[in-house]
Subunit: 399 residues, 2 copies
Amino acid sequence: MGDPRYSRIAELAVVRGANVQPGQIVGVAASVGQEEAARAVAESAYGRGAKFVDVMYFDPWVKRARILHAPEETLDFVPPWYGQRLLALGELRGARVSFNGTVAPGLTDDLDQARLGRDQLPFIREVGQVVNERTTNWTGVPCPSRPWAKLVFPDLDEEAAYERLWTEVEHVLRLDEDDPNAAWEERIGVLVGSAARLSGRRFDALHLEGPGTDLTVGLLPSGTWMAADFETVDGLRHLPNLPTEEVFTSPDPTRTEGHVAATRPLVFRDGTIIRGLTVRFEEGRAVQIDAETGADALRSLVAMDEGASRLGEVALVDREGRIGPLGTIFYETLLDENAASHIAFGGGFGFLVGDEDKTRVNSSATHLDFMIGSNELSVTGITGDGERVPVLVEGRWQL
Amino acid sequence: MGDPRYSRIAELAVVRGANVQPGQIVGVAASVGQEEAARAVAESAYGRGAKFVDVMYFDPWVKRARILHAPEETLDFVPPWYGQRLLALGELRGARVSFNGTVAPGLTDDLDQARLGRDQLPFIREVGQVVNERTTNWTGVPCPSRPWAKLVFPDLDEEAAYERLWTEVEHVLRLDEDDPNAAWEERIGVLVGSAARLSGRRFDALHLEGPGTDLTVGLLPSGTWMAADFETVDGLRHLPNLPTEEVFTSPDPTRTEGHVAATRPLVFRDGTIIRGLTVRFEEGRAVQIDAETGADALRSLVAMDEGASRLGEVALVDREGRIGPLGTIFYETLLDENAASHIAFGGGFGFLVGDEDKTRVNSSATHLDFMIGSNELSVTGITGDGERVPVLVEGRWQL
């Protein structure tokens, strides 16, 4: 089945990431260009006794044809069976594996960004519901490809860029360890500990300060912090993103104040790159968005519903992870977010708060992370009494 | 968007084949390896005002992993959302475009043929329901690819084989005419005329005689013959297969007697080739199946349900079509069947009979055509009084 490196990623995703069980249906979300990885996941999952592996290939060129030619008023339409499939996967207690890493960098650069912003595919709102209901054991892993490698390492020739991307992806996935599973157990243990200490302090707010950033993010009274070490409603443990280096919570969507400057570019799933992003918040809402590139696409996104302009997540990343030290910008949020602390527009995670705060967590059809962390970012916790407690200084935990 | 020849096939499929209307959802069934054609259909359909183009890519390598590794008892499982999507497309009065032509010849040759026979994907039983309910306007067209070209023209080098396949596919699609639409109007007119004359004779049975073949196929009292010129329940005309050269009916599934020898190889959608097929029928059922290759896969198929071993279709092809004269074996049933008269195991077409015979039409989750026609095949109609009337002699209509 082609390059054995895909099999090693697939094995990690199936065994340690999603933790696929015998008899499960496995939904695989891949893009055209990620066939080898999808087939390796199928092989691994069937080998573990999966009942069915349902690979859905997303084709960004078909989406491009839509943005270019479809009637304007239809651009936010999603066929009902897209969401129904996902909800059924949840009802049947299926597993899910998705691949990240662009297959078509720059493909949407020349498109009308407002039209592009109306079409969120391959993201669909039911993802948030299934995640919150914790009915599927799932993971996402990076899938190296030549187009992606060329974007990340433009100065290398194609083959060298591709090999370099593989080397770095295997490193951050800890596949260069003798026992990657044990390495992940150890790192996840550290992250779970940090999350527990943060939860224990019950801060009322966080204050984030750094170059271009002076932001206060209010927290919810019953909010807890978590590492990406999840359990389904049936107690099935899974790691939703590999690699993961973050601890995160869902904040109070009405109490974000101040301004932030993104410290890394962010990339929509369809390839639009937003560089030089700055955002100003008032009473929880993003009231001003500027960027060197891609600002229109982002403005269009945050206008899609009431919650899209508010925060659903704040996440802290220490300097002990493997992604930050590489200095590489992967142009892939799920990797880049794990290099640096970040916040996310859109839907939050109801499972992070107590019942009394469930309806206060931000609700939206979208979820978009952007990185604001660096070693120059200081994070301070503010208690209900106004006490200021150092949390993260120069990328080191202070708790 | 790449090779303009794909755009010409897509335009024919969207405009003349499926007859896509503004506001319609268009389901596209493609295989991995047919991306260029799928994107061209998206471009054409969105250009005509389609609401959404939903491309589903089938990956035969994922299926191969399943046949190799999945638990035996799961091999006939199909996730419920596969059928639900198709039924919803019908309820929403969507359009459908599918591509034929293998992308992976020989991929399943080394697999356990009994296991392979239990997995009918990408075929799903709801296709039959939606076709019978006539709720979608649909078509299937050939999609040239390099792997397919190599199978069809093994003696040519890759590039020459690919160009030869394109030339022949464009010829049989009448894309080499100044006005392909007008050429199709003319040919369809001839076929509709032949079908009308056959229907008018109300034969009780057909007798087919040729080398290796002596078969009597009983017909249903209210059965009519049709060319592949369909109308939806809403009166939307569409040509379900392009190219098409056949007239066909659904016979009485209990009154097939005798034996047949296939005159061309037939290919399962997954690439299994059945050569040298002979079948003996008693009281409508295939009671003996032999073949030089692929016999086990076919035996497994006809055992899948009661109707799978009975006939759902008998189709006659004259020698005026464009496929037969080429002498090419395309290893693609939807092309090869239009070179020669054929019969099909499995589900029939309820819309070809009156209400009183609806329940008599063969019912099955599968439908598999195989070619029994040649210029040496004689077809004779037998009336209720036992009169014998020549229908097709040396490939020429006698009616």
